[in-house]
Amino acid sequence: MNGKAHSLEPPIDVSALLASLELAGKKVAVERNGEIVPRSAHANTLLADGDALEVVVAVGGG
């Protein structure tokens, strides 16, 4: 996740992962293995060993 290895207890979906990171309800976007995981699909997208995730936010920029 975001370039670093994380160990998680399976089974875990994207919603549960965000909740465990205290990011539930926060304005974030998730990409899994290069594909966007829409917010509506967070709860039914199960993560698998070796998945590459990006979790991003909006920050100040020009």
Binding site: G34, A58, G61
Partner: protein
């Protein structure tokens, strides 16, 4: 008659677009954006700091997307693929928002655009339904290629990003303004209010800036100055300046009835 800026089918009263980076804190960001009168604000997309500062206020709270049009950028991207990926994340993050700022950089030293990659990314994003405002070189031929590719605004640099060097090549900007029908917005290089005025006097449709405001000693006051600079330049452009007349001075006061004798 109201003088509105239209980008991607939406109209804006302000012709000043402002970046949200490099401010002291969100309060200063908010104050500067308010003072600038800008309706469009650029934002960057970055990885969350996993496990850090979870209760820190977010930019989206400081600048509510209900009040401002967010313009997510691809700052820091050096390939078309990275830029497209970043903007797909931005669209998801901002609930389907499709107006974006594309910038594909050539190198970290100059932040000059990589135009072949920029054009490639534009084509891909347009195909994917994005409304793309493109940071680009001030080359009128490249600008026409971007227009043909279907972007919604051409955004040539006036000088290097963050340099504050002002309008280095007004002639090229003028060529772009003449050659393309899309809005032309100077993006990058503005240092102070007169630079913004010059860009607008040339006939640019708007100016996008960040560092010129954020790095001023008093960013909020500079934001206010920029607002006036852009408005003054726009009005001067619409008013149509007098021609420059070298060697042919013309007094503003009557030449008859003077008590002084005629000059030799």
């Amino acid at each position: 008659m109201q003088d509105l800026l239209t980008i991607g089918g939406k109209t804006y009263r302000s012709r000043l677009l402002i970046g949200t980076g490099k401010y002291r804190d969100f309060a200063q960001t908010r104050a500067a954006v308010e003072a600038s009168g800008a309706e469009i604000v650029t934002v960057a997309i970055r990885r969350t700091n996993i496990g850090q500062n979870r209760n820190e206020p977010s930019l989206l709270e400081a600048l509510p997307p209900s009040r401002f049009t967010y313009l997510p950028n691809t700052a820091g991207c050096y390939t078309a693929a990275d830029a497209v990926r970043t903007l797909r994340l931005a669209r998801e993050l901002l609930d389907g928002h499709d107006l974006v700022k594309l910038e594909v950089l050539g190198d970290p030293h100059t932040l000059y655009p990589n135009m072949p990659e920029t054009l490639k990314a534009t084509e891909e994003l347009v195909k994917d339904g994005f409304k793309v405002m493109v940071y680009c070189s001030d080359d009128p031929i490249q600008a026409q290629m971007l227009e043909a590719a279907g972007c919604v605004a051409i955004m040539p640099l006036a000088s290097l990003i963050g340099s504050g060097m002002g309008i280095l090549n007004p002639w090229n900007l003028q060529l772009i303004i003449e050659k393309v029908k899309l809005p032309v917005i100077v993006d990058a290089g503005v240092g102070t209010a007169s630079d913004a005025t010059i860009a607008m006097e040339l006939g640019c449709d708007g100016v996008l800036m960040n560092t010129a405001v954020a790095a001023a000693r008093d960013p909020v006051l500079m934001a206010k100055a920029m607002k006036k600079g852009v408005e003054a330049g726009r009005e001067a452009f619409l008013a149509g300046r007098m021609p420059k007349k070298l060697y042919s001075a013309s007094p503003s006061s009557p030449t008859e009835g003077k008590i002084a004798p005629k000059a030799a």
